[in-house]
């Protein structure tokens, strides 16, 4: 597999990651969201492996395997169990005006492309072009966390942001040191578990996962 073909593949994967990010923003169903998230992790893992091959940075293989293990298998499984236990696995969440959200997302992508222009000038890597996509993925994750009301969808948005960060790291500087990777992965797991407990508490206190309920926590005067 020659370098040119590999970089082609990489950019294709980058665009798929962007697509899944958009999908996460506009998708209504819980299960579909989980599937999209898993796919995003999968694309991320493959592209990480390809970048490792391109840059000859072999620790990226490990981080790709980590991504595969955690973001494609473990986290979706945990979240799946979670939403089944919370009996929201069939829930359909209303997203505010999907076309408007899409347009917002497009604007964000353009913005991030504009933002990363100087870095593209500096960097010399084959993968520098995907940096904009990575930043856009982060922003879209953020957008998702903003537009969603449901706690589970918000953690998915959080994880999507983290995907974007990892992708940015791999594409900008052939990945961060392995230790950091491991740490991040561990953090994610812990975060997921903590989120899980939170959900239980939220849902037991308000018997709903609608974070707007939290407004009731502020003291009335």
């Amino acid at each position: 597999m020659n370098v040119q073909l590999a970089s082609h593949l990489n950019s294709l994967l980058a665009s798929f990651i962007l697509l899944t990010a958009f999908g996460l923003v506009v998708q209504r169903r819980m299960n579909a969201l989980l599937h999209l998230f898993a796919w995003q992790g999968f694309f991320l893992a493959v592209s990480t492996a390809i970048v490792g091959y391109l840059g000859g940075a072999h620790d990226l293989y490990i981080s790709s395997i980590l991504t595969l293990a955690i973001k494609v298998a473990l986290l979706p499984y945990i979240l799946h169990r979670l939403i089944i236990k919370l009996k929201i696995h069939k829930e359909v969440e209303t997203v505010v005006n999907i076309p408007a959200t899409m347009l917002m997302g497009i604007v964000l992508v353009i913005f991030s492309y504009h933002l990363t222009a100087p870095i593209r000038e500096l960097s010399t890597l084959v993968t520098r072009s995907t940096l904009a996509v990575a930043l856009a993925t982060v922003m879209l994750g953020f957008l998702m966390m903003i537009t969603r009301k449901h706690a589970v969808t918000q953690i998915i948005g959080f994880l999507a942001m983290e995907n974007g960060l990892l992708f940015a790291a791999t594409s900008a500087t052939y990945g961060m040191p392995l230790v950091v990777e491991l740490g991040v992965a561990l953090d994610l797991l812990i975060a997921a578990f903590i989120f899980g407990m939170f959900f239980f508490h939220i849902s037991t206190t308000f018997d709903s996962l609608d974070v707007d309920q939290m407004a009731r926590l502020k003291e009335e005067d």
Binding site: L5, H8, L9, S11, L12, A14, S15, F16, L18, L19, F22, V26, I98, P99, M102, G105, I106, V109, I110, Y113, S129, T130, A132, V133
Partner: protein, 314 residues
């Protein structure tokens, strides 16, 4: 030996006229298989058309000339479009007659008159169909243009045969812009040719109709022309997709053997497209009309991502 391009043109139009109903028949057939039924014959649409030609015409009393003119115009436009899109060869004298934008505009004038014909007889159904058709069309148009934009960025042209030539050179399936443009194009085709989930071509319920509602009052040869033209439109969108995304197998010039091969390849591709179409139609249910905004919005999103990924990633 080389065939004269004009003969290839005539050949193409003949292929369009003959194969389009068979393509529709093939789709029906595959659908029947998927639903576990025995299908009618592959040529059923042909029989319907022939039967309709032999029947009388019953016109509404207040139908004006527009109502009678529309079927011929729609038919004529579909036939002309068959000479523009490269089906059997990329070297066509008429292919310079219109680029993709003009081609889309040709289809939209056909739609314009169909909608007028729907309003002509002054039934509520006709007006309803016209209103919905024009609404969906106006939502589909930006997505279509974006898809054209993305493809023309790669093809460095908006003339169909030029794009086909350029794209058939590079290994374009790896280009994100083309992949997304293809996704968008599929959604737009579903909307423009009135397939599930946007419109149900086999519906019997007037209130859910879009395209059918406009032609409810047509009969006899007029109906035959309109149905034939809509089959041709589906076929044309299919070959347009082939020419701009998977043009391999379409020869550069009208060399006899390669044209024959091209015909076979075309039939093969069409069979594949039919299966994909039926998979979509069996998998999805018809949408509420105000969900179509989101459907076409995502088509626009795909096309835009394609356009942007050309600048960002290629």
């Amino acid at each position: 030996m080389n065939i004269d391009p004009l003969i290839v043109e005539i050949l193409q139009i003949a292929v369009l006229l003959i194969v389009a109903p068979v393509f529709t028949g093939w789709i029906k057939m595959v659908k029947c298989w998927f639903q576990g039924r025995t299908s009618p014959s592959l040529f059923q649409p042909w029989r319907d058309i022939v039967k309709l030609f032999s029947k009388d015409v019953t016109l509404a009393e207040n139908a004006s000339w527009i109502f009678r003119f529309t079927p011929y115009l729609v038919f004529g436009i579909s036939v002309m479009a068959g000479g523009i899109i490269p089906i059997l060869s990329m070297d066509l004298p008429l292919s310079a007659m219109a680029d993709v934008i003009a081609l889309v505009a040709l289809f939209s004038i056909a739609r314009f008159f169909t909608a007028l014909a729907g309003m002509d007889i002054g039934t509520a159904f006709g007006g309803m169909g016209a209103s919905r058709e024009m609404t969906i069309a106006s939502l589909a148009e930006p997505a279509m243009l974006m898809a054209v934009f993305a493809v023309s960025l790669v093809g460095k042209s908006t003339s169909v045969s030029q794009m086909a030539i350029v794209i058939s050179q590079g290994h374009s399936l790896l280009r994100p812009s083309l992949v997304f443009a293809l996704l968008a194009f599929i959604l737009i085709t579903l909307a423009e040719t009135g397939r599930v989930p946007v419109d149900n071509p086999a519906t019997h319920l007037e209130l859910t109709m879009i395209h059918e509602a406009m032609i409810l009052e047509y009969s006899g040869r007029h109906l035959a022309l309109i149905e034939w033209a809509s089959m041709m439109k589906l076929f044309l969108f299919a070959v347009l997709g082939i020419a701009s995304f998977v043009p391999w197998g379409i020869p550069r010039n009208g060399e006899l053997l390669s044209v024959a091969v091209a015909l076979l390849v075309l039939l093969f591709k069409l069979a594949g497209i039919g299966v994909v179409l039926v998979l979509i139609e069996t998998g999805l249910a018809k949408m509420r009309i105000f969900r179509i905004t989101e459907f076409l919005g995502s088509a626009f999103l795909f096309a835009t991502i394609g356009m942007m990924s050309y600048f960002m990633l290629e």
